[in-house]
C-alpha cells in the first residue's frame, strides 16, 4: 500500500516528484492506453487526472448528469486504477463525472469499488470530498452582507438569480486533496476542483515551492494538449524539482517543445500570464522555457501570489425549461433573401397562440450565420441553401413541443408576397420536432468569501478491494 513517504521529496539523484497524466478530461473521450502504459514504466509517483469541464455547457450541472456515457468513465478509471494499484502509487481524480457534483463523486467511488472487486485487488483506501453548496448557504451569506461577487463582468449575485439556480458547486483548491493524502488515501475522488490543484496538491504536500507546484498543475492538466503534433488523450509525464518543472510526452510520435508548452499556457484562458485558484494565483509572465531533450521541456520562473482574502469560485446552473428542436431546409433564393420574414411569420403564429412571453423560441440560420450569429462578418452573404434549427423552450414538455412545432411548421406556410413556390416554403428532413435535453443556463460564475479553504469541501474515507 502506498504511504505518503513513498512520494515525499527524494534525496537522491535530484529525483523530483513524478506525476503521470493520461487525459485532459477523463471520460469525455477515452484515454489512449498505449502511451499511458509507457508512462507507467517511467516510475511515476502518482497518477492524476481531471475529469471536469464547464465546456459542455450548463445542462450536466443543472440536471446532475454526465456529458458522456458511463462506459467511457469506467474505461478511463479502470486503466488508471489498475496502473496505480500495480505500482502502489496514489491516484487523484478531480471534478468527478464532468461537474463534480455529489452524485458524480458517489458514482466514481462506486465505480472504483466495483473495479476493485472485478479485478480482485487487495484492500485500499478511497478518499473523497464533496463540492456542492446548498442554495440556502449562499443565501445566508448574501443576507449576512457578504456579497457573492460576479466574475467576468457579471453583477454580484442577486437572490432572484439564486432562486433561478438548481445546483451549485464550489471549486476546490489543493486543500481537500492534501487532507485526504494526510489521511492515507490511495485513491482520491474529488468534487469540483481547480484543474491545477489536483497536481499541485501532492507537490505542495511534499514540500515543493508553491509557484512551481501550481505551474506544474497548470501545464499537466490537459495531458497531451501541451505536446505536438496535436493528438489528444495521450499521456504526459511531469516531474517537479526544487528548481523547475519538466514535462515529457509519452507517445513516441509526440514531443513537449518550448513552443507547445508555452502555447498550452494560453489554452482556454483569457490571459496566458495568470492562473487563479482558491488561495491565490500564479504569475507566469517571467516563465522561461528550455528544451531539455527531444521530448522534454523545462520551465522555471513562475511566481506565486497568495490571495489577500480567500474567495472560492462558485458555478451554478438553473433550468430554463423543457426543450424541443425542429429543423427545416430552404433552397428558393427569394425565400433565402427573405428568411428573416419567414422566421418573423412563424414567430407571429407562436405569439398568436401563446402570447409574448412564458417561452423561448430561437432560430439558428445555418448557411448564413448559424455558427457565429452576430459575430459573423459574412452574414449578408447567405449560401444557396440554408438549414434553420428551431428551439422551443417552455415550462412543460407539451408546451415546448407546441411552441417548437408552430415555430417550425409555420415556416412552411410563410406568406412572402412574390414567392413562386406556393406549395411549401421550406423543406423538412423530418416532419416532426424532437425532444432534447431540458434547457439550462449558467446562473453563477461568481466568488464567495470563505474563512477556511476546507469549509465547503467535507472529506470522507472508505475502502475498496480486499
Amino acid at each position: 500500500m502506498a504511504t505518503p513517504q513513498q512520494f515525499s521529496s527524494s534525496p537522491h539523484n535530484n529525483r523530483g516528484l513524478r506525476i503521470l497524466c493520461p487525459n485532459g478530461h477523463m471520460g469525455f473521450a477515452p484515454t489512449k492506453t498505449g502511451s499511458f502504459e509507457r508512462g507507467l514504466l517511467t516510475e511515476p509517483d502518482l497518477i492524476c487526472c481531471d475529469s471536469g469541464s464547464c465546456d459542455c455547457g450548463p445542462v450536466p450541472l443543472g440536471s446532475d448528469t454526465c456529458a458522456s456515457p458511463l462506459n467511457w468513465q469506467i474505461h478511463d478509471l479502470e486503466s488508471m486504477l489498475l496502473g496505480a494499484r500495480k505500482l502502489g502509487i496514489p491516484m487523484l481524480i478531480g471534478s468527478a463525472g464532468d461537474t463534480g457534483t455529489n452524485s458524480r463523486v458517489d458514482m466514481f467511488v462506486r465505480i472504483i469499488q466495483d473495479l476493485a472487486k472485478k479485478h480482485g485487488l487487495p484492500k485500499f483506501r478511497v478518499g473523497y470530498f464533496y463540492s456542492e453548496v446548498p442554495r440556502e448557504e449562499v443565501r445566508r451569506r448574501i443576507r449576512g452582507g457578504d456579497a457573492v461577487r460576479g466574475l467576468d463582468g457579471r453583477a454580484d449575485l442577486s437572490e432572484p438569480e439564486l432562486d433561478a439556480t438548481d445546483r451549485i458547486v464550489a471549486v476546490a483548491g489543493v486543500h481537500p486533496f492534501i487532507r485526504l493524502l494526510d489521511m492515507g488515501a490511495d485513491v482520491i475522488i474529488g468534487g469540483r476542483s481547480s484543474d491545477c490543484a489536483i497536481f499541485a496538491a501532492p507537490a505542495i504536500r511534499a514540500g515543493y515551492p508553491e509557484a512551481l507546484a501550481y505551474y506544474y498543475g497548470k501545464v499537466m492538466e490537459c495531458a497531451s494538449f501541451c505536446a505536438e503534433p496535436y493528438g489528444a488523450k495521450e499521456s504526459v509525464l511531469g516531474e517537479i524539482t526544487r528548481e523547475d518543472v519538466r514535462v515529457t510526452a509519452m507517445l513516441p510520435e509526440q514531443r513537449c517543445t518550448v513552443a507547445s508548452v508555452a502555447a498550452h499556457s494560453m489554452y482556454e484562458r483569457s490571459n496566458p500570464f495568470y492562473e487563479y485558484f482558491l488561495g491565490g494565483h500564479i504569475d507566469m509572465s517571467q516563465c522561461r522555457y528550455e528544451q531539455l531533450d527531444e521530448r522534454t521541456t523545462r520551465v522555471t520562473g513562475p511566481r506565486f501570489v497568495p490571495a489577500l482574502e480567500l474567495r472560492v469560485k462558485l458555478e451554478g446552473a438553473g433550468k430554463v425549461g423543457e426543450r424541443y428542436v425542429g429543423m427545416v431546409g430552404v433552397r428558393d433564393p427569394y425565400t433565402i433573401a427573405h428568411i428573416d420574414d419567414v422566421i418573423g411569420w412563424a414567430r407571429d403564429q407562436v405569439r398568436a397562440r401563446f402570447g409574448d412571453s412564458g417561452y423561448t423560441l430561437t432560430y439558428n440560420v445555418y448557411g448564413r450565420d448559424g455558427v457565429m450569429g452576430e459575430l459573423e462578418p459574412l452574414r449578408n452573404h447567405p449560401a444557396h441553401e440554408l438549414c434553420v434549427v428551431v428551439q422551443g423552450v417552455a415550462p412543460t414538455k407539451a408546451m415546448a413541443e407546441e411552441v417548437c412545432m408552430i415555430g417550425t411548421r409555420q415556416m412552411f406556410y410563410a406568406r412572402l408576397p412574390q414567392v413562386k413556390g406556393t406549395a411549401g416554403g421550406v423543406a423538412f428532413v423530418l416532419d416532426e420536432v424532437m425532444p432534447a435535453s431540458a434547457a439550462y443556463r449558467w446562473t453563477l460564475n461568481h466568488t464567495m468569501r470563505v474563512s477556511d479553504p476546507l469549509e465547503l469541501f467535507p472529506v470522507h474515507m472508505t475502502e475498496a478491494g480486499g
Binding site: D152, Y363, E376, Q391
Partner: protein, 117 residues
C-alpha cells in the same frame, strides 16, 4: 500602404488559429506562429490590433476583455465577452471552438517577395 503593396492571408503565416471558451462567459482566440519573423510581421502590421479584431467581429472595444502579444509562444491572443453564457438557449457554439474562421483570411501586408511563404 501603397497601391503596389501585396498581402498574404494570415492562415499562410500562422501555424495555429483557434478559438475556445475561456470560462462560461468568454471566448478566447489564439494565433500562433512557427517563425519569429512572421509573428513580428503580423504584430507590427496591426492587422490583429485591438481595433482591428473588434472591427473584424463587429463588436465594440468593451467586448474585448484581453489582448496580449505572447512572446514565449510566438502568439497573439485576444478574448471577448460572450453576449450570453455558453450553452444558453440558441447559443450555436457551446465550446466556442468555431469562431476563428474570419481570422484565416485576414490580409497581412508583405513588403518583399521573399516574405511570401
Amino acid at each position: 500602404m501603397s497601391d503596389s503593396a501585396r498581402t498574404v492571408p494570415l492562415s499562410s503565416l500562422a501555424k495555429t488559429i483557434r478559438s475556445k471558451n475561456a470560462g462560461v462567459d468568454k471566448i478566447t482566440f489564439d494565433v500562433i506562429f512557427q517563425r519569429r519573423e512572421d509573428w513580428e510581421r503580423v504584430r507590427r502590421s496591426g492587422v490583429l490590433s485591438r481595433a482591428a479584431v473588434c472591427k473584424l467581429y463587429g463588436i465594440p472595444e468593451q467586448r474585448l476583455s484581453d489582448h496580449v502579444e505572447f512572446e514565449p509562444a510566438l502568439a497573439i491572443k485576444f478574448t471577448i465577452f460572450r453576449k450570453s453564457p455558453s450553452g444558453s438557449v440558441g447559443d450555436p457554439d457551446i465550446f466556442g471552438s468555431q469562431q476563428y474562421g474570419p481570422l484565416l483570411d485576414v490580409p497581412v501586408p508583405v513588403d518583399d517577395a521573399r516574405a511570401s511563404p
